[in-house]
């Protein structure tokens, strides 16, 4: 695999040329909520041998803390909040030589699949600006696809790194739960989410991952990756009963199978009987956790607050009424509902049981194959404000991605081809700590289907 792409190493020296390239693109796609490319490098200092990301700029989803940058989470609630600290993944990337140039747009608090739930900005797909970039890490995916940064951090709670990566034709990587510290990631659904990495260069995904992974004393759920025996990927599981795919996605999926066979992989048909329960289980757990995680935003210590309030209770009510968007309110209410005493067995506890069953199902698949292949999302990027997919349908479409979050296993969305001029992502899922398999198979696939550049993007400014 290649090292970090060399053109980006001249970023600091060629800043004017970069800005001339980046400004018009950023105007078209709106990937950043805060964009400070002129600022001097914020990279940390350290021995240069240990600085594998030397000189690289990067973008950070705006629900991840970067010291002295806003931390809006795409919400009016936090529009004025400046973070007093760095998230661990950010601190480690800085220590490895990289520097933050902006905070990327997202669905408010990571809740959505289009970035249209952002209260603070509109992000469009670089491939077709009438379409969405996906979500919730839509800004990160658009910035990478448009060539504004070599890599960006996103967060993946139910597919929020992989789905926009698929929509924008870049790699979107979600590691094993715990291998990347969540410290600094504004919590939405703590037991499901993890920082993730988006890049157009697969080698860079791996380099960034290696630079920031591992146990963090600030996050007790974080851990060092377990070492797994390295053996070449030979078998890939595919779903025997795949239905309801958009024709374009279906076509790319079928070509992908052909390429994988041609690469010598054995395809093993499997079923995931619990797949249809994945989305309801996911939304039950995610909203339950969200209802508690978002309770801290009450306008008292920071964040949106009314000019005047009768009493503290009134202040909290007004702050939350005005500060949160509708999708956030819906999920808080859903989560509050499923946690009511007397109803937990019916909803929350049952969802946790489904979660165990899904893990078991996946384990059975991995007993038969090294990886699981699915589409990342059943449709390619849809147009802004598209009503053919309701909020509810958008949620159902998360079924291929949420499985990895429920089971805590790693998954990678890779650009697999185009359908009607739009990129389509496919997804490999691997057993816990077997990230190496994802990189190996995706690299092999890229030898047959190189990653397509978004029309109009280039790295010519670096010459």
């Amino acid at each position: 695999m290649s090292d970090a792409p060399s053109p980006w190493k001249s970023f600091q020296a060629k800043k004017e040329a970069y800005l001339a390239y980046a400004r018009p693109w950023e105007k078209k796609v709106g990937s950043f909520l805060t964009f400070r490319p002129e600022a001097p490098s914020s990279a940390g200092s350290g021995p240069s041998g240990a600085r594998p990301l030397e000189g690289l700029p990067f973008g950070v989803k705006d629900n991840i803390a970067v010291r002295d940058f806003p931390l809006t989470c795409g919400s009016k609630m936090l529009a004025d909040l400046v973070s007093p600290y760095d998230a661990t993944v950010v601190a480690r990337a800085k220590a490895a030589g990289a520097s933050v140039i902006g905070k990327t747009n997202l669905d408010e608090f990571g809740m959505g699949s289009s970035t249209e739930n952002s209260a603070l900005g509109k992000t469009s797909n670089p491939w077709d600006q009438s379409r969405v970039a996906g979500g919730s890490s839509g800004g990160s995916a658009a910035a990478v696809a448009a060539g504004l940064v070599p890599f960006a951090f996103g967060t993946d709670t139910g597919g929020s790194v992989r789905q926009p990566a698929g929509f924008c034709g870049v790699y979107g990587f979600k590691p094993t739960y715990g291998v990347l510290s969540r410290y600094g990631l504004t919590a939405y659904a703590s037991s499901l989410e993890t920082p993730g990495i988006l890049a157009k260069d697969l080698g860079l995904v791996k380099t960034v991952f290696d630079a920031v992974k591992g146990r963090d004393p600030h996050d007790q759920t974080s851990l060092d990756p377990e070492s797994q025996p390295v053996r070449p990927v030979k078998t890939i599981a595919v779903l025997a009963d795949l239905a309801d795919l958009d024709p374009g996605v279906k076509a790319v999926y079928e070509q992908t199978l052909v390429h994988l066979k041609a690469l010598g992989y054995t395809l093993v048909p499997v079923t995931l009987p619990t797949l249809e329960y994945a989305v309801p289980a996911y939304y039950t757990i995610a909203t339950a956790e969200a209802s508690a995680n978002l309770a801290r935003f009450n306008g008292i210590r920071y964040g949106h607050r009314p000019v005047y309030a009768e009493n503290p209770e009134h202040l909290v009510r007004q702050s939350r009424t005005a500060g949160f968007g509708n999708e956030v309110k819906t999920r808080i209410m859903l989560g509050t509902y499923v946690l009511r005493s007397g109803f937990q067995d019916q909803f929350y506890t049952k969802a946790q049981k489904v979660r165990t069953l899904i893990s078991n199902d996946l384990q059975k698949v991995f007993d038969q194959a090294d990886l699981l292949l699915t589409p990342t999302f059943p449709v390619p990027a849809f147009v802004h404000g598209d009503k053919t997919m309701t909020e509810f349908q958008q949620k159902l479409a998360d079924k291929f991605t949420v499985t990895a979050n429920l089971a805590g296993v790693p998954a990678l969305s890779f650009p697999a081809g185009l359908a009607g001029g739009l990129p389509v992502g496919m997804q490999f899922t691997a057993p816990a700590f077997c990230e190496a398999r994802l990189f190996e198979a995706a690299a092999a696939f890229a030898t047959r289907v190189p990653v397509a550049d978004c029309p109009g993007t280039s790295l010519d400014w670096s010459k």
Binding site: A65, L71, Q220, A292, A295, F297, P312, E313, R340
Partner: protein, 472 residues
């Protein structure tokens, strides 16, 4: 005719240097909002990191209360909105507390030993403090995130007096264990009280929870008030409403705060940010090593071993420091009874006089034992002993050293006393003659003269026997 049934929910601040889930100092009385960080202020993105010392102390208490200790303990989120609670959920333990099903003996108001069962012991975090000032409300988050241990009893207490006695014995227990200072006036110990009444043999009545009780005396009074209020209600065919009531310390009454209908649904669920804690051998060893002889057991043992009265036993077992002090001095001197008397009497006077605590005073168990040994061996008598005790406090020296320096040792041999008696006889020859002639009334005068000549150091028995010999 009604029986009072009382259960307690006791909260103590644990003696941890830092807060339960961050490294901020847990210090009482600092400037508002100085011991805070993004974690205890509930900033976006931060995560709790469990203070293992808090957990060790929690298990230590649960073990001392005879609980079944959890082999795997988990935290839960308790959800409710309150402006002084930064995250608007409290990290607590609902499903897997550190201990359950304990029991502990205490000495009831009437001196009998009773057993109270412990429902559970769980660790949680405290909230901040909200102060209403005029048309403003101010929040201080220094206390937010303090390690708080909650001990929930079964409804085994039957009077306000026993509740008070139990709380005082519980306070003594946590101080013995060194896990909390247990001060109710500083808020490091708090207690919510559940009270119901019933007729003998009937099932439990509807309970009322009383809050805002910041002294054991208020708890006793509140239970007594509630018993009367509930009895009056039942006598007049009213229903007892399940509710939370507040103690009004100005009027000595409880007042309704909220009914059960208005009670909160806390929507407990497992805290996803803290993995389950599985104590290992080293952890269990630490918990075991922190166990101490419990106050009641210690009192019984010391009372029996040194023949103390109940009052003396209560006194010397009041604190672990006092008990250690007493036991050491009692063993060293071989006279526990006398040591107890010293500690309750003259030592207290000296401490009051010098405005010192025993811990901070120059008196050590060794010094007290030495004083008593000097007394018991007849080298000094009681008046000199009191002088020496005072000198220990004044000069921070051993009693024996002061005795030597000031020549205060008793005159206990004929060889020492004879020359002095000779001088007295010489000086008062006429008196001597008178006595010899049969006027026994003047003997006392001679004794007084000998004592005066020896600065009171002559052993009275020796003076008497020597005079008797000389005077025939």
């Amino acid at each position: 005719m009604y029986q009072t049934v009382v259960g307690l929910e006791i909260h103590i601040h644990l003696n941890t240097k830092s807060k339960a889930f961050c490294s901020c100092l847990a210090e009482f009385g600092d400037e508002p909002n100085t011991n805070v960080c993004p974690v205890c202020l509930g900033y976006p993105g931060v995560l709790p990191v469990l203070n293992e010392e808090a957990l060790t102390q929690g298990y230590t208490v649960a073990r001392a209360l005879g609980c079944n200790l959890s082999q795997r303990t988990l935290f839960d989120r308790k959800n409710y909105f309150y402006p002084d609670m930064p995250k608007n959920y409290q990290i607590t333990q609902f499903h897997d507390p550190v201990g359950r099903d304990g029991k502990i003996e205490f000495q009831a108001h009437d001196g009998t030993i009773k057993t109270i069962r412990i429902h559970d012991v769980h660790l949680e975090e405290d909230a901040g403090k909200m102060i209403h000032a005029g048309d403003m409300s101010l929040c201080d988050y220094n206390r937010a995130g303090y390690s708080l241990l909650e001990v929930v009893t079964e409804p085994d207490l039957t009077s306000g007096e026993d509740a008070e006695a139990f709380l005082l014995s519980f306070q003594r227990l946590v101080r013995y264990l060194g896990v909390s200072d247990g001060n109710m006036d500083e808020g490091s110990m708090k207690c919510d009280t559940n009270v119901s009444i019933r007729k003998a043999g009937e099932p439990l009545g509807t309970k009322v929870e009383i809050k805002n009780l910041n002294s054991t005396r208020f708890i006793k009074k509140a239970i007594e008030f509630e018993t009367k209020r509930q009895a009056t209600a039942l006598e007049t065919n009213q229903r007892i409403v399940q509710e939370t009531r507040l103690w009004n310390e100005n009027r000595d009454v409880t007042e309704s705060m909220r009914s059960k209908e208005g009670s909160l649904d806390y929507r407990y669920f497992p805290e996803p940010d803290i993995p389950p804690f599985l104590p290992d051998a080293a952890f269990w060893a630490a918990v075991e090593s922190r166990q101490v002889e419990l106050p009641l057991a210690r009192k019984h043992r010391l009372t029996a071993a040194f023949g103390l009265s109940r009052e003396q036993g209560d006194f010397v077992a009041e604190s672990r420091f006092m008990a250690d002090f007493f036991e050491q001095a009692a063993k060293e001197s071989g006279n526990g009874l006398a040591v107890a008397n010293w500690l309750m009497g003259d030592v207290q006077k000296e401490l009051n006089h010098f405005n010192l605590s025993l811990e901070a005073s120059p008196l050590t168990p060794f010094r007290l034992a030495q004083l008593q040994k000097l007394l018991d061996s007849g080298r000094i008598h009681i008046k000199i002993a009191k002088q020496l005790l005072d000198a220990v406090f004044e000069q921070n020296k051993d009693p024996e050293v002061v005795m030597r320096e000031k020549g205060l040792e008793a005159i206990t041999t004929e060889e020492q006393l004879s020359p002095i008696v000779d001088k007295v006889f010489e000086a008062h020859a006429t008196v001597v003659e008178a006595i010899k002639a049969g006027d026994a009334r003047q003997k006392g005068f001679l004794v007084g003269q000998v004592m005066k000549a020896t600065d009171g150091r002559a052993a009275p028995a020796l003076v008497n026997s020597l005079l008797a010999k000389r005077l025939g």
